[in-house]
Structure formats: structure tokens, C-alpha cells
Amino acid sequence: MSEPLDEILNVVVGNFNQWITIFLMVAGLYVVVARGNMVKKLVGLSIFQTSVYLLYISPGKILGGTPPIITDGVEVYSNPLPHVLILTAIVVGVATLALGLGLVVRINEAYGTIEEEEIFDQGSDE
């Protein structure tokens, strides 16, 4: 294979995880900002959140490593610290999601809709 092509391939393979992470993050951000439906916003928020899991876990992976459970005859383990941090993040994430959905249900009771625009309309009528 020719030299420059090899180099480009190296950059792509080395950064592919990060690019997907960035794509997920940006897509989540877009959903949160552009969509008026509140359940959709929460789905976008959780996509944003899962992209952060990927952001933390992928630098901790070592090629040729195994999961960080100490066993005889294994020398290389992946980094355990990001795993711990993300375990905490997942559980906190579902707690905040539950709270958000509770708020959505409450808003639906109060306004009869979960669309942002329709709620704004109701406010301007008064």
C-alpha cells in the first residue's frame, strides 16, 4: 500500500471511536434543541449521555488487553477506572431520566400537551 493512503487509514482507524462518539453527541444535542416534543427531548438527552460513556470507555481499552478481572497468566488489562465512573453515571442517568419523565407527565396533566410550542401558545392566549 502507498505511504499517504496508509497514513490516512491509520488516522481513521485510530480515531473512529471518537468520531462516532462526536456524532452521537451532536445528534443528541440537535434533538434536544430542535425538537419541541418533551419525550423526544429526553431521548435526545439520553443519547447525549450514552455518547459520554463511549467517550470515557474507549480510551481505557488497550489492544490485546482483557477485562480488568485479575486472573493467572494474563498480563494486560484494560483500565478499570473509567468503567467505575461510567457505572455511576449510568445509574444516575436513569434516575434523572425518571425525574424528567415524571415532570413530562405532570406537564401533560397541567397543559394537556407535551409539545413546547403548544404550551407557549396557551401562555400567550391568556
Binding site: N15, F16, I57, I62, A95, L97
Partner: protein, 173 residues
Amino acid sequence: MVLLTLMALVVIGVVRLRNLFAVVILSSAYSFLMASVLIVLDAVDVAMTEAAVGAGVSTVLMLAALYLTKVEEAAPRHTPLLPMFVAVVIGAALVYGSVDMPNFGDAFTPVNTHVGSGYLVRSIPETGVDNVVSSVLASYRGYDTLGETVVVFTAGIGVLLLLRRNKRSRSKD
């Protein structure tokens, strides 16, 4: 790499679909894909949690919320050009920054040479636990876990209060 690409495709589906039921099911599939990716990245504990919590509990919560509200999303009234522009600019900036990051799977990055490897060495002599993730979670970073349970507890109280007030106002009507 295939899994990651599949995940990106599912997310495009989530962004484009307007039926919220389909969106919720797709996000559940997305969580399972994320769990598979995490297994490939050696994070087995995280993968189990993600499959149980992300794909299981979150989906149930979302479906419950949909049952109490509406399933169809209204058509957007504004053109999404400005958010799209913001998203693309941020994405481009992040991609530009990512080129300088260390390559995937490298063992000698700053991330992998400081505390992480220290925990791997110290876990057996200091705590006697084989699974380094659980020893760090419960022993070295026990306070993090305590804080986490406080957050979950607070969120639980919040949800209870929200839905309880609900019932009272209904009985008034």
C-alpha cells in the same frame, strides 16, 4: 467498528422518526448495541449495567410515560436550520480536536498510565478482590457510590412527590 456504525444509523432513525413509540423502541435497541460495544471495549460490568438499566428500566419508564401522554409527535413549525448549523459547527470543532488525541488501544497514553494501572497493581494486596472494577467501586471510591445512591434517592423522592400531587389535584376536580 460495524457495531459503532450500526449505532450511528439507529440514531439517525431516532432523529427522523416522529412516532414516539418507534423512537423509544429504537433507543432500546441502541442501548443493546451500546452494551455490545462496551463488551468489545472490555467493560463487562458496564455492559451488564447498560443492558439492564439502559435497555430495560429506561425503556419501561419511557413506555409508561408514553402511556400517560401522547404517542405522536407534532410536525416541527420552525425550520431546524439554526440548530443544525450549531450542531455541525460543534461537531466539526470536536473532530478537529480529536485528530490530536492518542490512537485507539494505545497502552501508554496518560489515561492508562496513572491511577488506573495503580489500581490494577494494588487491588489484590490491599483488598483481596479479583474484580478490580468492584474493588475500586466499593473500596477506593466508596464515597462516589454513596453520592450516587443519594442522587437516586433524591430522584425517587422527586418522582413520588410529582406524581402524588397529581392524584390530589385530580380528586379536587
